[in-house]
């Protein structure tokens, strides 16, 4: 019988081992490229076991280091963490396979460095997922930023450098200037950095100050990409597509909204928030972000830029769900982490596939090429349906819960926001397969699609459908979380 501590170690250490071993295998690319998927499988195994344990009501725990006086580093898995950990580790398998196809198909330079930091970023994301207190969370939040910088600036040209600079400035700046002080505030108010299921601030914080503290947190978590600190995400799209797919649709941004949800539920507490209305302003800001970025997305011709703005808008769904401070909306927000991850990674995979296979990156160039890459565009279509929230795709569940939550919390205008946004989603996402399948081809292009790219796309595409029917464990976890 393996203890729960060991499972935590298995999950978080396997990407770290990949990080350490990859540079040693730079002479042997085949072996090196096998490491990622292998690490993903081992890590996912641990994550699944942890999730089962959490489902049984256990709390896996691992203390690492005691610094001084209630300041410590350690892991403790919450239901929310179990979900995020599972999403990150499972999608890492597919993203790792896809990276191999993409990097080879595109003949990118410095591949060893790429895989090395890729694994490090996954490690950081998993540590965030399982972190037991705010300090551990903050440390790995920073590690994640630093480990993704070499990936964003991978191409090392001027554009990539500039993007890397913006990326670091916003993410490091916001976290150091706002997030860390906010965490210290919590430490001072409550005397510890621990979190608890029902929040720790009730009774320790004057409700009048709660919105301000929440604001410091919300603007400190740059990774959740609320307006006006969202600029780094479109900038980060200069990175190779596997990075955009796993990190800027799953690991990094989800780490952001994960942190946001954790702060809302386990630091402030849903009851405290709904009683005091401290998060009402955040509902407005998130709604605003959600609509504005959907509109901006319509005007983006670059596929990845459009997906980036779509991601920002979908992240705001999650923040909004947390800010509504109702049990149902929170459940919806958590489920949206899962469903959006599966859907958006598919879309990014497709964007990269089109680039590798046909060297196209603009939407206006896609006219009529659906027949030369039917599988790829079909996957995009299905992924889009999931994002829009059409059954039987996974995305319909989370949207359903979010809408129920909005109704439950009494913020009815949020329902309107959701409906408008759904229409906008449909408009800007459906344009891509529609152009590909229904418009006339204006030029002929030779398409060469590596198998290692097609396979992960089909897998994640199926995942969006499977998740629709297999939502139960996730839903159970979220109900453990809110009850």
């Amino acid at each position: 019988m393996i203890s729960l501590e060991t499972y935590i170690l298995i999950t978080i250490l396997s990407p770290l081992i990949v990080f350490l071993v990859t540079p040693l295998l730079s002479r042997n690319p085949n072996l090196r490229d096998l490491l990622g998927p292998l690490g993903g499988v081992i890590s996912s195994y641990g994550a699944i076991e942890i999730m089962n344990a959490v489902l049984e009501g256990k709390i896996p725990k691992l203390d690492v280091l005691d610094i001084a006086d209630g300041i410590k580093i350690g892991f403790e898995v919450t239901p929310l963490g179990a979900i995020f950990g599972l999403v990150a580790s499972v999608l890492w398998i597919f993203a790792a396979i896809y990276s191999v196809g993409y990097m080879r198909g595109n003949q990118e330079k410095n591949q060893t460095r790429f895989y090395t930091f890729y694994a490090m970023a996954v490690h950081a994301a998993l540590c965030i997922a399982y972190s037991g207190d705010l300090l551990t969370l903050f440390i790995f939040y920073e590690v994640l930023t630093f480990s993704t910088y070499p990936l964003v600036a991978h191409k090392q040209n001027e554009l990539a450098q500039k993007a890397g600079r913006l990326y670091m400035s916003i993410l490091v700046g916001s976290s150091v200037i706002f997030l860390l002080p906010a965490i210290i505030c919590v430490w001072v108010l409550t005397g510890s950095l621990d979190m608890s299921k029902n929040g720790v601030l009730e009774g320790n914080l004057n409700p009048e100050y709660a919105p301000y503290l929440l604001a410091i947190f919300a603007f400190g978590i740059g990774k959740a990409a609320l307006i006006p600190i969202h600029k780094w995400l479109p900038a980060a799209m200069v990175a190779p597509t596997p990075v955009s797919a796993l990190l800027h649709a799953v690991a990094v941004v989800k780490a952001g909204v994960f942190t946001m949800l954790l702060i809302l539920t386990n630091v402030f507490g849903i009851d405290f928030l709904s009683k005091t209305g401290a998060s009402t302003w955040l509902i407005w800001l998130a709604s605003f972000t959600l609509l504005i970025t959907s509109i901006i997305a319509i005007y983006k011709d670059d596929i990845k830029a459009r997906l980036a703005y779509s991601t920002i808008s979908q992240l705001s769904y999650i923040t909004l769900g947390g800010a509504l401070a109702s049990a149902m909306a929170t459940q919806g927000a958590v489920l949206h982490i899962v469903t959006h991850a599966a859907g958006k990674i598919t879309l990014f995979f497709v964007a990269g596939a089109i680039y590798v296979g046909a060297k196209m990156s603009k939407i206006s160039e896609l006219n009529g090429h659906g027949k030369s890459m039917p599988l790829i565009f079909l996957a995009f279509f299905i992924g889009s349906l999931s994002i829009i929230g059409v059954p039987p795709m996974a995305g319909s569940w989370s949207k359903f819960f979010l809408m129920l939550g909005a109704a439950e919390s009494g913020h009815l205008f949020v329902l309107v926001v959701f409906s408008i946004s759904t229409i906008l989603n449909a408009y800007y996402l459906m344009e891509i397969p529609a152009r590909a399948f229904f418009l006339k081809k204006d030029r002929d292009i030779k398409v060469k699609m590596p198998t290692l790219i097609t396979i992960p796309i089909i897998c994640t595409c199926f995942l969006t459908i499977i998740l629709f029917f297999a939502m139960e464990p996730f839903q159970k976890l979220t109900s453990i979380m809110v009850n």
Partner: protein
Amino acid sequence: MTDIIIKNLPILVVICPLMMSLIVVLIPYNFLSWVITLSTTFITFIFSLLLYQEVYLHTSISYALGNWAPPLGIEYVIDKVSIVPIIIISLISFITTIFSSKIMPAEINSSSISKVYSLWLLAIAGLIGLVTTGDAFNLFVFLEISSLASVALVAMGGQKDKQGLVAAYNYLVLGAVGATLYVIGVGLLYGITGTLNLADLSKRIAEINDNKALIAGFGFMIIGIMVKAAVFPLHIWLPRAYAYAPSAVSVLLAATATKASLYILARILFSVFDISDTLIINTLQYVILPLSILAMFAGTIMAIFEKDIKRLLAHSSIAQIGYITLAFAIGTKASVAAGFIHLFNHALIKGALFMAITSMSFYINKRITINNLSGLGREMPITFVCFVICSLSLAGIPLTAGFISKLYIIKASISADGIWIAMLILASSALSVVYLWKMIEALWFHEGPKNLLIKENSLVYIPLLIITFLNIYFGLDASLVVNSSFEASEQLLGARK
């Protein structure tokens, strides 16, 4: 033999660098003079570690100089309070001496190297003496020894850049003013109490109530020391002196010089005078507290707009001194302990940052300004990584020493009912991110000159690595520093409150 050493430790830590400085000046070979200096600082460091052990065995060691019993004779007192700055000074001077081996000959004419090392040891002896002595006048002597030696050291920077002479002159004049004010204060107190022994002085002051001369004496002493400690707005000698001194000297001074004076400040405020006295309470609340807060912001804002990096770091030191005096000004046991924690950690942080910057300037053989910092990080990765880690430490990021000190200062200020003080600390440390990021951005993200072909020198980066490692180590295992500081503040304030 060991017995004699142990018994005489309090004087050995002072006498060892003092005597050796006289020997070093006679050595004609530069390398040999460095070796002697290095071994002297090493031995002094070992002595101070032994002293640490002794202090924790006996709580407090009193050493009568020349066997003249105090309060008539000069007394050296080592207790849990003074051991903190002793360790800081001896540790930093040892590491900086290693660091100086390659840096020093690049900036100083080879004929004056042994003189520089002589002054170097003299300054160290002065600083340690300042901390160990328990006699108000002897303290003045050491204050002068250390400042005159440092002035001469700063003036050595004039060999390369004439600004060094101006800086040294400024430092000399203001230092002399500070010392004079201090000695006037000592004179007044001597006139009232008839004693120079600090412990004795404290007893007699407690018996006097409401004496105008006492207040005047106190004022003179405090202001004199505040000049030496560069407490805002008496700091104006500092940026120039740090910026134009020879590189290795900047590192030594930045990490140690003001720390000794800050310790004296705490000593006078809390142990010579009585913290429950309204005079001290008012001084803390209406003078030192507002000045510290001003220092935090003024120093940081000046650093943000500064282009010359050594000056930038010097401005940032002023802000950091502000944190320490702020912690003292709050005046509770926890806050004074937090002040001592930051005293120690800031020596490590600022020492390391100055070391990183001066080694960059050594590699490219130019003064470092924000413009020629461009792209240097890519050319010298080891130095850059150390610089980033220590910047994070200065900004107070978890896992570094700076985080621990910031945390304790904030905690202490909140438990003393000063939420707004905590907010100000957070705001000022958030502002410090601006200038730190400015440097890191230039170092890594800006396009720099190509083909510099820089090879990092191991004698230059090993001391940097050591001190960076200490920054991380004391961020991970803070118990040693935290406990020693709490013991220190317990001893300093315990008898009183």
